[in-house]
């Protein structure tokens, strides 16, 4: 597997090379198009001006001098030629010397056309751009004006020091490669750190965090990773706490059951004491059964990908049935349960689950209320939602415990006494079920005055 940094590095180097090659071609092209064309145009203009000096007849010495004088003012080399030998005048005959213009060019010049040549010229022993203008009179090529300029081709310039050029390019590429490599290392470092952190996480070290050093995508990724790590760590801790709590909760009844059953088996206790012990064993077994049931329920409700069946429910009916189930328990403590319900409210939900919610909440209210107190269960529609409000005048919940009240096994009473009954899972189950109904659970409480639990459920719109 190739590293990402090597891929990016290669990509940059390839782009760089392509750019260099393209630029060299493009420069050549521009050179041809602009420099050469421009020179050609200037030469033609000068040539035409010089051509206008010629008034016909033989090309005179004066004319030749005038043209050559122009060399002093021009960057181009210019001269006039009248020697017919140089002008390929003898061409039907074999010529064994190098003429200045060829027979084809002579034909063009005879027609009065200007000839432009670009290339190596033996006469000047170099590449030149030349412009030749005819001096014609009555179809006679009396002479020519020859302008030329050495083509300092970029390649020609480089030819002499081509090794130096190649060396410079290689060196330049190496330097660029080095800096790109360094730059990439710098950019990739947070990624490498992230990778190390992920490996540590996989090994179970959930406390791992990566320092956020940049504000870019990698920085965002690092932040997201840190958040994820924190979430995993929290979850892990919660799980550990949960397991510890569960084992603690189970150990106590088990040690009761074990101790008393052993005493009975070894006949240490008899008669009335034995009956009481059996009673205790029975109670603790019940407790364990309830605890395991609730754990099972909690585990099930946590599985969000196992949705339960939802259908329209008349909320008042569900509340009444739930209250009826708890009527005896309430009457034992002399507690009055007042029901104020809006009969028209219909919500989409699972009746069993909602009953469970109501039972848990009302049970809690009964449990933490003093004797002969009253509990109020109210339903109404607020802002398109159904509101269920259960108010008691019980012992209340301390403010600092309120945010944690729905956590499994969280108890306000840290002594975890079994005297106040609950398993510590009730409100967790309530919260889960409400969430599954897309609802909202709010618990308000003032210590010593009472607690109000409010549940908002989306109402089923009448079609």
């Amino acid at each position: 597997m190739r590293k990402l940094s090597i891929k990016i590095w290669s990509l940059i180097i390839i782009f760089l090379t392509i750019t260099v090659i393209f630029m060299s071609f493009f420069t050549n092209f521009l050179y041809d198009q602009l420099y050469v064309k421009d020179s050609e145009q200037s030469m033609i203009e000068i040539g035409e001006r010089l051509q206008s000096i010629y008034k016909g007849g033989k090309v005179t010495d004066e004319m030749v001098e005038k043209v050559e004088d122009y060399n002093m003012y021009s960057i181009f080399n210019v001269f006039a030629v009248r020697n017919p030998r140089e002008l390929s005048a003898c061409v039907p005959f074999d010529i064994d010397y190098n003429t200045l213009i060829g027979p084809d060019e002579r034909r063009l010049l005879l027609k009065g056309e200007t000839v432009t040549k670009i290339g190596y010229e033996e006469r000047f022993e170099r590449e030149i751009i030349s412009v030749i203008l005819p001096l014609t009179d009555q179809n006679r090529l009396e002479g020519i004006i020859y302008l030329y300029y050495p083509l300092a081709r970029i390649t020609e310039l480089a030819n002499s020091e081509v090794m130096l050029l190649i060396g410079s390019v290689v060196l330049f590429s190496l330097v660029i490669a080095y800096f790109v490599h360094k730059g990439l290392c710098h950019i990739m470092r947070p990624l490498n750190e992230l990778q190390t952190a992920v490996e540590k996480m996989s090994a179970g070290n959930y406390g791992t965090r990566v320092q956020v050093s940049s504000n870019d995508e990698i920085g965002n990724l690092t932040e997201a990773f840190n958040k994820m790590a924190a979430a995993i760590q929290k979850e892990d801790e919660e799980k550990k706490t949960f397991l510890a709590t569960v084992s603690h909760e189970l150990r106590t009844p088990i040690s009761y059951v074990k101790g008393y059953s052993e005493a009975i088996k070894n006949r240490f206790i008899d008669g009335k004491e034995k009956d009481e012990a059996i009673q205790l064993i029975y109670r603790e077994a019940n407790r364990m059964e309830r605890l395991t049931n609730e754990l099972l329920q909690l585990a099930r409700s946590n599985k969000e990908n196992e949705p339960f069946e939802m259908y329209p429910i008349v909320l008042s009916e569900t509340i009444r049935e739930s209250v009826n189930l708890l009527r005896n328990q309430a009457e034992q403590k002399g507690i009055q349960i007042e029901i104020i319900v809006d009969e028209s409210i219909i919500v989409l939900g699972n009746e069993e689950k909602l009953k469970q919610v109501m039972i848990n909440l009302i049970e809690n209210a009964i449990h933490y209320s003093s004797e002969k107190a009253s509990i109020c269960v109210l339903t109404k529609i607020i802002e398109g939602n159904a509101l269920i409000k259960i108010t008691d005048n019980g012992i209340g919940i301390p403010e600092e415990d309120l945010p944690h009240i729905t956590e499994p096994f969280y108890r306000v009473n840290k002594a975890r006494s079994r005297a106040d009954g609950g398993s510590g899972l009730g409100l967790s189950i309530v919260e889960d079920i409400v969430k599954q109904h897309n609802g909202k659970l709010v618990i308000q409480s003032i210590l010593g005055t009472g607690t109000t639990v409010m549940i908002e459920l989306p109402i089923m719109e009448e079609l």
């Binding site: 017919p84 005879l110 090529l141």
Partner: protein
């Protein structure tokens, strides 16, 4: 079968056309003419003494030269052609072909021996043929033999790329003598009454020649140099007047046989050929494709001719 015919018929027709003898416009037996041999688009244009066009022969082959030979015939040859062709003027018909080999640069007819001579630049030889085109003899010469003239059983050949003139015995076709001359010499004229031989030329390298060299006919000794303008390359003669064409100066230069200048006149553009025809001087301008008819020192008529007139042939029927 029909299909077969469709394919075969055009080929058959093509063969028929190809095999049929090429026939050019005929030239009357009694017609005097000056003809210009045009080499850029090979053709031959015939004119009468008034300068009116009689006929035009357009050639498929890239002929570079022509020679009038007895019995109403013309010999056509080309430097890039392996053979020379003989046509009859009065019928325009092809009569014979002579296998010459590539590299024919010039041809010459000697009245005295009635032989045709052709110089070859590939083999550097001159070959003589009888009037039927049969090879008579051959002689090895210097580099690139071209200009020829004859007198008294001797053929004088200028070797264009060499520094010598070859003197060949016509009867034996053996090299009799070699004279020292300038390189790139071209144009030769024997003046028997003066015992002189005049040689023109382009000049060596890029330096143009500006003289006509006069050699003694017997010894070959350079006895005089006639100053003319630039690059005298061909001579023509009418009685006491010698016409010299200076192609570098576009000038016709006229001297007497003593080499004294009679008159000179600018004519044509890059003229290579000059001829005397019916008391007129005819000059061919190579660059302007024109023939100039000069009478009493003045250009009397200018006519357009084919592309690249390089040679003038004259027939004067008495």
């Amino acid at each position: 079968m029909k299909r077969f015919l469709i394919y075969i018929l055009p080929i058959y027709l093509l063969l028929m056309v190809g095999c049929s003898d090429e026939k050019f416009p005929s030239i009357n037996h009694h017609q005097s003419f000056v003809a210009s041999m045009n080499i850029l688009e090979p053709s031959m244009t015939f004119y009468d003494d008034l300068g009116d066009e009689i006929a035009e022969w357009k050639f498929e082959k890239s002929y570079t030269g022509a020679l009038l030979i007895p019995h109403d015939r013309v010999l056509l040859y080309g430097k890039q052609l392996p053979e020379a062709d003989i046509y009859e003027l009065s019928s325009g018909k092809h009569l014979a072909t002579i296998d010459t080999g590539l590299g024919i640069t010039n041809s010459y007819y000697d009245e005295e021996s009635k032989l045709i001579f052709m110089t070859n630049s590939e083999t550097n030889t001159v070959t003589s043929y009888n009037q039927h085109g049969e090879k008579f003899g051959e002689c090895q010469l210097g580099e690139y033999p071209m200009s020829m003239d004859s007198y008294n059983g001797l053929l004088y050949v200028v070797n264009y790329k060499d520094t010598k003139l070859s003197v060949v015995n016509i009867d034996t076709m053996t090299l009799q003598n070699e004279w020292s001359i300038e390189k790139s010499s071209n144009g030769i004229l024997v003046l028997p009454e003066e015992g002189e031989l005049w040689i023109g030329g382009h000049g060596e390298g890029s330096k143009p020649n500006q003289t006509v060299d006069v050699h003694q006919l017997k010894t070959g000794e350079l006895i005089d140099q006639i100053n003319v303008s630039i690059m005298p390359v061909e001579f023509a003669r009418n009685g006491q007047e010698i016409y010299i064409i200076n192609h570098g100066a576009n000038e016709l230069y006229v001297t007497n046989s003593d080499g004294e200048t009679l008159w000179a006149n600018e004519v044509g553009a890059n003229p290579f050929a000059v001829a005397s025809f019916q008391e007129k001087i005819v000059v061919a301008g190579f660059d302007d494709n024109k023939l100039y008819f000069i009478d009493r020192k003045e250009i009397r008529k200018t006519v357009d001719t084919g592309n690249g007139p390089f040679q003038l042939l004259v027939r004067e029927v008495k």
